[in-house]
């Protein structure tokens, strides 16, 4: 299953990913109309300040997802048809916030849906081939890849760095 990996040195903290996420989860899917929607669309990833650098914090769609185990109403489930991403059915969410309480990355938020407050969680953009945040990143800090691909990239980078240091 593909995951979104982060090259921290490339994150400039521009927050385009947050904007793109909100726009993707709006009714109109266009920035200039999405900003006028009520309720306002809600981002599901967070660019935060960590120790002097900007760090995008995203949902990992964990194998042993605590939010999935914690959900009281069965709103959060694993979508086997989409490689096992952990997603949410808003109509089943009762707004108990147990998922918020247990997500170690703090990437579950609250949003208005049809007048009720429900959980807002990354759904890996079911209507797109590549998640909106990844596409929006102007420096390609966010990388959408299989873990093996990513490991290969990381190894190549380390090797290149080491090679550069030799001699």
């Amino acid at each position: 299953m593909k995951h979104i990996f982060v090259r921290l040195d490339r994150c400039t903290g521009c927050r385009e990913c947050e904007l793109a996420c909100a726009v993707e989860h709006s009714a109109s899917k266009e920035l200039l109309t999405a900003i006028f929607e009520t309720p306002p669309p809600r981002k599901r990833l967070y660019v935060e300040s960590g120790d002097g650098r900007s760090v995008p914090i995203l949902c990992r769609h964990c194998d042993d997802a605590p939010c999935l185990a914690a959900c009281l109403s069965g709103a959060i489930y694993r979508d086997r048809a989409r490689e096992g991403v952990v997603v949410q059915r808003a109509d089943k969410c009762i707004g108990c916030w147990t998922c918020i309480m247990v997500c170690p990355y703090g990437v579950i938020g609250r949003r208005l849906d049809g007048g009720r407050w429900v959980a807002a969680k990354c759904d890996r953009c079911p209507d797109r081939a590549i998640p909106a945040c990844v596409e929006a990143c102007p420096t390609k800090a966010l990388v959408y890849a299989e873990p093996e691909e990513w490991a290969r990239m990381a190894r190549r980078t380390v090797a290149t760095t080491l090679a550069g240091q030799e001699g």
């Binding site: 995951h3 979104i4 990996f5 982060v6 090259r7 921290l8 040195d9 967070y46 935060e48 300040s49 960590g50 120790d51 760090v55 914090i57 995203l58 990992r60 964990c62 042993d64 605590p66 185990a69 914690a70 009281l72 109403s73 069965g74 709103a75 489930y77 089943k92 009762i94 707004g95 108990c96 916030w97 147990t98 998922c99 918020i100 309480m101 247990v102 997500c103 170690p104 990355y105 703090g106 579950i108 938020g109 609250r110 009720r116 407050w117 873990p147 990513w150 490991a151 990381a154 980078t157």
Partner: protein, 419 residues
Amino acid sequence: MRHLIIGNGAAGNAAAHAIRRRDPSSEITIVSDEPHAAYYRPLLPYLLHDAPEGRHLFRDSLHLPRDVTVQLGARVQAVVPDEGRIDLDDGRVLAYDRLLIATGASPSLPPIDGVPGPGSFVLRTLDDAVTLKASMAAAGPSSRAVIVGGGRIGTKVALGLRHLGMAVTIVEMLQWIVPQQLDAAAAEIFQEALQSQGIEMIFGRTVRAVRRQDGRVRGVILDDGLELAADLVVMATGVRPNAEIARTAGLATRRGILVNRFLQTSHPHIYAAGDVVETTDIVTGEPIVSGTWTNAVFMGEVAGENMAGGSREYPGAWGLLNAVELAGIPVISAGLVHPPLEGYDVRMRRRERAYRKLVFRGGTLVGFILVGEVEGAGVYTAIIRERVDISPWKEALVEKSTCAPFVRTLRRFPEVYAA
């Protein structure tokens, strides 16, 4: 391998999944004294005023793995550990190789004259909810309710009954609402909200007696002699583990069933999980009986895995791990929120209807309360559990719950980040 689970709640269902994951071919049977299919106990208060949340009461088809036999309405009379069997009260006998006691807890009633009795109710099971609802309907909207106990259940029931137009008074023994999960400052926020909804609250008092006339409740009498008019009384004074069958089976018990770090009871083939267990507080190390759904699920997972041959260690339960929304205000709290005066660093922020309190011991977080701005609470939960040293970021963490400074040290999937 024949696995037998007593109890069809959070722990029992989670255990069934864990067993099936580890042992695809073994037999799994669940026995429950309730006649209903598995449901989400925390949602019961929503049934009282037909809140939309109540629609999702019953769990969906995925709550159990495949090939699990469920016996509903079957009460266990005795467990016979030496013979590896349980006796049901309808005369049937079920044998097992591994047994999980996940019988949960029942309402604990303080000594009150006239309770139990007609017009006084508890809210633990679906049947309790149905009964209470019927009585509320019979009593009519202009009736008056007294809720004994201002904890989560009591407060939710109070809001539900108020929603239907009843006059509601909460009598709480301690000094503020939801005292286990909130501190005074946080509780104040909720109390304002409850007051603005017309709910009366009396603190620092207990109920001595329920007065009836012609078989109907007329009032409750407090410990100071004050009588409150009442047409119905709801007891929400906590729960007691249903550990009787363990006790009579000779297993080690105290307040609840005692277990080792693998959730085994004093008999190696018998495990226990959920509200029936006495375990240790993951933060303080003190013995506790945990009463939360989330704890029960995790315990069930660990117990089930170990029943099926695993050796997973249970790190302890959360004495406090609570997420709830009352009167439209969300609150999440966990860990140690009422610390002793010495040795703890307590930091608070109050902003209008938002309140944050973090409790540190040295460089680690041990407890928190978030009212209003609850997003990111799970970061606090994680750093409490994993005992991450967050000394450099204490102030930052009080302002905002973010894992950004230490995201690469969190256990799950650290390779997501490349420097």
